[in-house]
């Protein structure tokens, strides 16, 4: 006895469904059946957010360099203002990138670009400690001629190496 062939367009036939289009389901799969698709932030948005976060602390660096540096006999010296502005820069960076971004998922730059940093496994903000560790892990992205920062161009979850180390993703 043989079974009749499946009718055309039979959803239970042996047809292999075509792979999903870009954007239809994210790279790396949509997870469990029926689970919501994750919309990862693109590389441009991530670079834009990072630039904004850097521009925010740039004035402190400029003020420190102009008001806090002197040159005596060809040797660069630093006065108290230099270190004050350096500390201010670190404090603003820490509040923005570690405390606020760890608590809400959004630094000022990410907020401006409408993207959020979350834990790759639970989808929640990662906390200040992990946000700090993630910035430390960017050392790995930097050391290989900054190639680690390009990984979101081709990675399935658009992660940098730092993201992979601390298990984070940036979503829209």
């Amino acid at each position: 006895m043989s079974y009749p062939p499946p009718p055309p367009n039979d959803p239970y036939g042996n047809q292999v469904p075509p792979p999903p289009p870009y954007g239809g389901a994210p790279y790396g799969g949509a997870g469990a059946y029926g689970a919501p698709a994750v919309n990862y932030a693109n590389w441009g948005q991530r670079v834009g957010a990072y630039l904004i976060d850097n521009i925010i602390v740039l004035p402190f660096g400029i003020l420190g360099a102009t008001l806090g540096q002197d040159t005596e006999n060809g040797v660069v010296t630093y006065n108290a203002l230099y270190w004050i502005f350096q500390l201010l820069s670190l404090a603003v960076w820490g509040y923005n990138r570690w405390f606020q971004a760890g608590k809400t998922g959004q630094s000022w730059g990410r907020k401006a670009l409408g993207i959020t940093l979350v834990d790759a496994n639970v989808g929640q903000p990662i906390g200040a400690g992990k946000a700090f560790l993630r910035d430390l892990a960017h050392f790995i992205d930097t050391i290989i001629c900054f190639i680690g920062f390009l990984f979101p161009l081709w990675d399935a979850k658009r992660q940098t190496l730092a993201d992979k180390i601390v298990s984070t993703v940036v979503i829209r």
């Binding site: 999903p20 289009p21 790279y27 799969g29 001629c145």
Partner: protein, 130 residues
């Protein structure tokens, strides 16, 4: 707007690199800024991407030989850049089908290939600078 495929994204990045390579010599001449390899600066060992800035600047000036000797990877990026524009246009016009996500097996294969290319580039840089 649809999501861009990996080759299209790499092509877009290559276009940015080309623009950067045009203005970079002026920036370095006026400010003295440089873009040294952090790994080489810290350890003395070059990384697989060493020489890409030199190669990009040489290539946009048409100095193919100099570009090749600095880092041949730049020609891969140039190929993506050359292809990406027409690809996006043809797909937008409906001449070509929209891109499809790769299977995980295909991703693995391409990942291995990329790893091999990076290793070959590292050997090249170690020979060139080591």
């Amino acid at each position: 707007m649809r999501e861009f495929s990996v080759p299209e994204r790499l092509g877009g990045f290559g276009a940015l690199v080309a623009v950067g390579a045009v203005v970079w010599p002026t920036v370095t001449a006026r400010t003295g800024a440089g873009l040294p390899c952090p790994l080489r600066t810290m350890t003395g060992v070059p990384c697989p991407a060493c020489g890409l800035t030199t190669a990009a600047v040489a290539l946009v000036r048409g100095q193919v030989d100099t570009a090749f000797h600095a880092n041949p990877l730049i020609f891969g990026l140039a190929a993506f850049t050359a292809v990406a524009g027409p690809l996006v246009v043809l797909r937008a016009a409906g001449v070509l089908k929209p891109p499809r996500s790769w299977s995980s097996a295909r991703r693995r294969q391409v990942g291995w290939l990329a790893g091999l290319i990076a290793t070959a580039s590292w050997i090249f840089q170690l020979h060139r600078l080591g």
